[in-house]
Amino acid sequence: MTLVLTDDQLMFRDAAKRFAAERAPVAQLRKLRDDLDPVGFSREVWKEMADMGWAGVLVPEEHGGVGFGFVGAGLIATEIGRNLSATPMLSSAVLAVTALLQGGTPAQKETLLPAIAGGDLVIAFATDECVRHTPYHISTLCTGKHKLNGRKLHVLDGHVADRLIVSARTSGDIGARDGITLFLVHPQASGVTITRSSMVDSRNSAVVELRDVVVEEADIIGTFDKGAIVLDAVLDAGRAILAAELLGVAEESFERTLNYLREREQFGVKIGTFQALQHRAAHLFCEIELVRSVVLRTLQALDAQEPTASSLVCLAKAKASDVARIATNEAVQMHGGIGMTDEFDIGFFMKRARAAAETFGDQYYHTDRFAQLSGY
């Protein structure tokens, strides 16, 4: 497989690029934030995105999606990153869809996948319990037949979800990979409390509390006690798509910064003539080129279900997180005082880079995991 996009992929990307810039630009995120919008994204726009094939990008055609795979989802995510588009794409179209595709029963797939792909159903994935991503640290307990008790943090789009997928411990010690089971939970079920968190990137996150929440056998996704198989796949999917989004964040803040360097004058010259700034910009260009390569390669590896895909996911998420951090920090610094103002958009990119890096493991987490997977 070559590291060049096919004509179909290029067309899909160009359509996504136009749509995101027109219908879900940074100005929309700003408005959602300023209006204290109760949903946190535009349901109308999400429906349009579903019509474009975004909500069903990973869903096979037999279940009402477009089946464009992770490369396709990544192309959308990069445009989302460039525009900071607020959507339930990651939570519902990537995490929940991957969980259902990997572990869903035929009945679950038949009822839920077409509804997600149509943009009519949002499913959130509730797993993290620690402030820093620690995937197997699951102390939400499932006891008896079956009652859930626990507390989930940083549940993306949790407060507007029509369903939740919740990881719980059905056996084993906290921290063990074995003994985890995934359940489909109704947010209106007795004992479920969902509290929206206000986050620095103005994107949706919630805390989900479960108190004696009753679930059925039919609500299990994947295999009892072996839910980590599905969980790992869901997390790797989310990490790779976040890496693609972070690529877009880095690219867009870099381009905006280059434009500023070409226009802004001090000491009677454009500040882009200063070599101190040129070299930092040129170095950043190289780093972003590396991220482009690793993101594309990783998405291809996930589509092909290559055995070493997890290592590539670590590389992509670590590199994209780190480079987006540098790109957005440099963007604010090179914009100078105006970069510190809320009126100017550049700060939004730095906030999103921070939040997206943190979600499902930042560069430190994934550097450590890369070394582990490499046997050292």
Partner: protein, 398 residues
């Protein structure tokens, strides 16, 4: 049958034939890893072959034009398509065949000759490069013209049917072993400095050429300073037009950069394997956690860089614009190579410090010192960043 399938089948047939030929013709000695300098065949009038196998391997490959697989057959090349050349590389790699010939004629001058040379120059020089008969060196840098290469002062004065060259070049790689030099000379002292430079080819045995080896911090002397004292060069040895040599010089530098940048991805023992051996493991992890983190970060960047090299190659094959990437690859590749060497020294501790006339098998310290030149030769890292700022990012005044 589609055209694609047809060409796939042709390519597979080429692969089978190539493999069979390589198995038949590549001597076993030429399938061993390169252990030292003498295992690399540079060719030339004074070529010193380490053994008969090395000589035979060069001859057999040169007969097929496979020392320069993609160059035209009329000049002694293989005339292979890009895909066929890739198959040849893959089959050579899988049989562990050494490169039959390494030379600056192949990696630098040849592409410039093919692009800018006249028919006489091409048929005179390219076949000798392909057969390894003439070893070339590069006359670019001068004591007073390093990063500011265009300010070079070695001059060629027009004496009717010939030029007379006076001046001095420095950092001439293997200048004392080369047969001919491709040399940047000043032929005009008016106007922009870039527009008074010409590109000359001449024999290092010409009267008035002398070389002096330069001993480096690594202990090696791969470079010379080269002096020209009234060297007569026939007019026909001017490549391209008078005063238009800078364009050729830059074209050739992109090939040099790709070669130097690519050194960062050479197959060597992974750093982590070396670290497991020398640092040791505790609880499934390298014993020193700070070192482990730096090694992991290096290996991740090295993998990301290798993927980027692949992507640039794929983009070029797909016909997409990639010219601007050579500075990026040179800058990032050489900085990575230095990082690898620094970490290798850290990992190997006092073992890595061993140094002396009797270089050990690993020669780690010499290798570490050698990498410091990577980000200087062929245009420093800072010059590459300048080029990116100007040609890629289009920043003002750059």
């Amino acid at each position: 049958m589609s055209a694609q399938m047809n060409s796939d089948q042709t390519l597979e047939a080429f692969r089978r034939d190539t493999r069979a030929w390589l198995e038949e013709n590549c001597p076993p000695e030429m399938r061993q890893p390169v252990a030292d300098e003498y295992d690399i065949c540079w060719g030339g009038r004074r070529a010193q072959f380490k053994n008969d196998a090395q000589r035979a391997w060069l001859q057999r490959m040169a007969e097929r034009g496979w020392t320069v697989p993609e160059w035209p057959q009329q000049y002694g090349g293989g005339g292979l398509s890009k895909d066929e050349a890739r198959v040849l590389r893959e089959e050579m790699a899988s049989l562990k065949c050494r490169s039959p010939l390494t030379s600056f004629g192949i990696s630098m001058l040849g592409p410039a000759l093919l692009k800018y040379g006249n028919e006489k120059q091409k048929s005179e020089h390219i076949p000798k490069i392909a057969r390894g008969e003439i070893r070339w060196c590069q006359g670019y840098s001068e004591p007073g013209a390093g990063s500011d290469l265009a300010s070079l002062k070695t001059r060629a004065d027009d004496q009717g049917d010939h030029f007379v060259v006076n001046g001095s070049k420095i950092w001439t790689s293997y200048g004392d072993k080369a047969d001919w030099i491709f040399c940047l000379v000043r032929t005009s002292f008016t106007g922009k400095k870039q527009e008074g430079i010409s590109f000359l080819l001449f024999d290092m045995e010409s009267a008035g050429v002398t070389t002096r080896p330069i001993r480096l911090i690594s202990g090696y002397s791969p470079f010379t300073q080269t002096f020209f004292d009234n060297v007569e060069v026939p007019k026909e040895n001017l490549l391209g037009e008078l005063n238009k040599g800078w364009t050729i010089a830059k074209y050739l530098l992109t090939h040099e950069r790709n070669m130097i940048g690519g050194m960062g991805t050479q197959r060597v023992t992974p750093l982590s394997q070396l670290a497991i051996k020398h640092v040791g493991m505790t609880g499934g992890q390298l014993t020193e956690s700070a070192l482990r983190t730096d090694i992991a970060r290096f290996e991740m960047d090295a993998l990301a860089f290798a993927l980027t090299m692949n992507r640039v190659t794929d983009e070029a094959k797909a016909g997409n614009e990639t010219g601007a990437m050579s500075s990026m690859l040179k800058y990032y590749g050489t900085e990575l190579n230095k990082r690898r060497a620094e970490l290798t020294m850290s990992v190997t501790g006092s073992e890595g410090l061993k140094f002396g006339d009797a270089h050990g098998e690993e020669q780690l310290a010499a290798m570490w010192l050698r990498t410091k030149a990577n980000s200087i030769e062929g245009g420093t890292s800072e010059i590459q960043l300048n080029i990116i700022a100007k040609n890629v990012l289009r920043l003002p005044g750059a």
